[in-house]
Amino acid sequence: MSDSDDGFLRVSDVSKWYGDEQVLHDVSFEMSRGDVTVLIGPSGSGKSTMLRCVNRLAEAQEGSILLDGEEVLSPDLDVDDLRREVGMVFQGFNLFAHLSAVGNVALGPRRVLGLSEREARERAEAQLERVGLGDQLDSYPAELSGGQQQRVGIARALAMEPKLMLFDEPTSALDPELIGEVLEVMHGLVDEGMTMLVVTHEMSFAREVADEIVFLDDGRVVERGPPDQLFERPEKERTGRFLERIASHD
């Protein structure tokens, strides 16, 4: 847990509705640079929606999200500029199906950052090495295992050199034996000091690496705190019940 709150990411009273249904109720939490925050909660609790509000893939109607002092929710903000700096990893990988691993990772540097073809490819190769896929550069998504695809997904986000990484249930679509390789890459990023906001059901991972756990239920923050406190001595009964149920599934 970071000692000082530098206000790198400050989520305050964020609310969101889909039509008449309110899916987020005044959600607040903050992160410092280098922090790992894990959002947990039952499905439908709004974790993924909250995550997507941070890079504006979902639009929050109320509240404030300050990233590095800038208001993410401002209507004047250029969302493409925002997303250039905030990487995202999807549950379903969402690799570009027509591009090789290298093509997937190079597209952003080439088309968004304006690197030359060669620079973009070099950067992509370096990022794929970083996630342990130096030998699969020219493989197409369909030729890769789920774990490999997700590592390409991570490399694709890293290639933009983001200051914040969002992970939306990165291992939920994976066969159990493939989860380890993805978590290993994520562990590596934690060690490198990457600022990460993670939605996951991998409680042991959360416990190991999180500086703070935010427990969401029904679109509300039920409880948040350091993992030891949340896992060992949850203040709210609802938290305890959720963690018990998750644990019995492990």
């Binding site: 890079n55 893939l57 250039r84 995202m88 999807f90 969402n94 597209l107 952003g108 030729e143």
Partner: protein
Amino acid sequence: MAGATRPTTVRERVSDADVSAGRLLLVAAGVLFWGWLLVSWVNRWLGGVVVPVGDPLVAPGLVEGALASLPALATYASDAAFVVQLTPNLAQGTWLTVVITGVSLVVGFFLAVPLAVARVYGRFSAWLSLAYTELLRGTPLLAQLFVLYYGLNLGRYVPGALSGVFPRDVVWVAILGFTLNGAAYQAEYIRGAVESVDEGQITAGRAIGLSKVESIYHVVLPQALRYAIPSWTNEFVYLIKYSSLAAFITVPELYYRADQVASETFRYTLIFVVTGAMYLALVITASKLMERVDDRVAIPGLGAARER
């Protein structure tokens, strides 16, 4: 065929089992057909370097004599000579058929892609695109050609630079008509393919900072256009045959010339069987060509659904 991991497609299995004799026959027919056309065209452009302009490449008398000497084929000798006599005329008509189809298809494609994208991703533009498509698909193509040529008399407006490329300015009007009409049909095929691209693809594009338009251009279209190839080939094939409607606005293409000779000689069956065979040859060429393109741009795992 790319990728060893891809399961064998029906097409591949059939071609594996293909009797090489049948294949050889097809290739030979193709070489003969296109060889004849190309030599005829070049001969005409260069003012008769092979044979005098307007003459068949092979003398009809020669063919007639050769067939007459074979007892089994002797009864067809005079018909064959008649057909050979027609060949320069047919080759010249086929040139216009090929050009009208090719130009309309290519220009129509560049109209169809934005139309399709607008339909799927636009708001107001989606309505415009829909209106355009319904209008052009919902009214007879022949009526459209009549309006363009006889109604609006667009032949008058063909710019000087374009005039003279073809024997008649009306060819440009026909190309315009087929382009506008074909674009509507192509747009429908491409729209279907665009819709079949997973939504997560565009989300992933947006997430790395591509704008919506960039995501469509760099992510959605490269996939959608690959998906579209087999159904788009239908439009290619249709257009080859629909181009015969240009005859009704006096474009001297293949059908026009066949009809002209038939009404002069009353040998309708023979002439239209031969003409039909020529359209068939063009259609087979088109579908073989697009099969090639499809294989060439194939990406492992992409579009596997359509091959199932």
